[in-house]
């Protein structure tokens, strides 16, 4: 085979599966279709580019929604004349102060910190790319560092699970108290929806392309 004698960097139409190391030839895909490995079904690649303006718009919207969803209470209960409400952060701190800091930390990471880091990271990547900073060494190294942790942070962010969890909590508590949703609930749900679209629009492979582009 000729392949082994040439530099692999030049094989733009070859791809190696992350899950099983199978060599597959890359070909054009119809839009909205994701290529999976024929052997182990790990996703290989999808559309070769992402709409930068779309990602930027969705990212700014998410950041704007993030602020009220953290400031306003997500749930409120009325019980025998007394009213209790809780924001996401207060929920995490409530278990932390009971001595269950592992649980509190988990809630804090999944619902507060990871989404913030994710949005901040995407925003920073967009700024580096749009302004052309990725051509400088500093910009390239920063972009490299951000992309390296992207999948990990993306997995840590658990907005969708939190949305289901306040629905479950509201049903559970409706047994003994009246449960009300507030402005925070609405903002948090919207944050989840917009972030979901952002994650679908964002393409990690495309972003890595900017790191190698500045290499030449």
């Amino acid at each position: 085979m000729i392949i082994s004698s040439t530099k692999p960097r030049k094989h733009c139409n070859l791809i190696v599966c992350r899950g099983c190391d199978l060599v597959v030839s890359k070909r054009a895909l119809p839009s909205g279709v994701r290529a999976v490995c024929p052997q182990c079904h790990t996703p290989l690649y999808d559309r070769p580019y992402c709409a930068m303006n779309g990602v930027l718009a969705l990212c700014i919207t998410s950041i704007l929604l993030y602020i009220p969803s953290m400031l306003f209470p997500v749930l409120e209960i009325h019980f025998l004349g007394s009213i209790r409400s809780s924001t996401v952060f207060q929920g995490a701190m409530a278990v932390w102060h009971q001595g269950y800091w592992v649980v509190g930390l988990g809630v804090l990471l999944g619902a507060v910190i990871a989404p913030a880091v994710l949005l901040g990271s995407i925003m920073a990547q967009m700024i580096i790319i749009q302004t052309g900073w990725y051509r400088t060494k500093f910009g390239r190294d920063t972009l490299n560092g951000l992309l390296r942790y992207h999948s990990f942070i993306n997995q840590m962010s658990m907005l969708e699970i939190y949305v289901i969890s306040f629905l479950v909590t509201s049903f559970q508590l409706s047994d003994f108290a009246d449960v009300y949703f507030g402005l925070g609930t609405l903002c948090f749900t919207l944050l989840f929806v917009v972030t979901l679209f952002l994650q679908r629009e964002y393409n990690l492979e495309h972003m890595w392309g900017y790191v190698s582009e500045s290499d030449d």
């Binding site: 190391d21 999976v36 749930l75 025998l80 649980v103 619902a111 992309l147 390296r148 108290a177 190698s212």
Partner: protein, 211 residues
């Protein structure tokens, strides 16, 4: 959509190493990735051992997570300790069956499936058990995808504890199993993330579905 494969060749066979960080294809003589400068290794053999260690830790923690109470509920001065399972039973008795199913899936089904599934998967690599690699990998993808959903119960507990705090009248507090449960999620996710799945496919020749 499945892409047509040209050969049965692996990256190692043709001297191309895929960077596990950024996906760049590198020459076998390269020590560091040309794109992201991370170290290149053909296989991470140590990941199997690490994954086993993390999984065993998670399996041990699964016991206290299930037998100890996960919340303490005070209602009109009466204190009840609730385990994961008794909490689900209470939901069933309160005619909240759909919610009970969601909690059951997130708190019992997913963690157990994750631990047993990963144990099976790791054994298949370690002891070269002849079972379909395709089915194993499909199971692994499912485990990776649903694993995070166990966090649901902890989110519910944190909200309940923050909201229900009216002293002797009505009060909810977390109990020891909550920490054990959080650690189970942490260790199983880490065990799945650490593993280099390519190790499974290196034993491909013997146990393959497709001719």
């Amino acid at each position: 959509m499945s892409v047509n494969q040209t050969t049965k060749a692996r990256g190692v066979d043709i001297g191309v190493f895929r960077c596990q960080v950024c996906g760049q294809l590198n020459d076998q003589h390269d020590e560091y990735c040309v794109r992201c400068s991370s170290a290149i290794s053909p296989r991470n053999y140590r990941s199997l051992q690490n994954s086993w260690a993390l999984l065993i830790t998670a399996a041990i923690l699964l016991v206290p997570a299930n037998i100890y109470p996960i919340t303490t509920l005070t209602k009109s001065g009466i204190v009840t300790h609730e385990t994961i399972f008794s909490g689900i039973l209470r939901l069933v008795h309160a005619d909240l069956v759909p919610i009970a199913i969601i909690v059951f899936t997130a708190s019992i089904l997913v963690p157990w499936l994750k631990v047993l599934g990963l144990a099976f998967y790791l054994s298949a690599i370690s002891f070269n058990i002849p079972i379909s690699r395709q089915k194993l990998m499909a199971g692994f993808h499912i485990i990776e995808w649903i694993g995070r959903w166990s966090m649901l119960d902890l989110f519910v507990i944190s909200l309940s504890v923050a909201l229900v705090s009216m002293g002797q009248l009505l009060d909810a507090q977390p109990a020891p199993a909550a920490t054990a449960f959080a650690l189970v999620i942490f260790f199983t996710q880490l065990a799945a993330k650490t593993l280099d799945t390519r190790l499974l496919w290196d034993q491909l020749d013997k146990n393959d579905d497709t001719p």
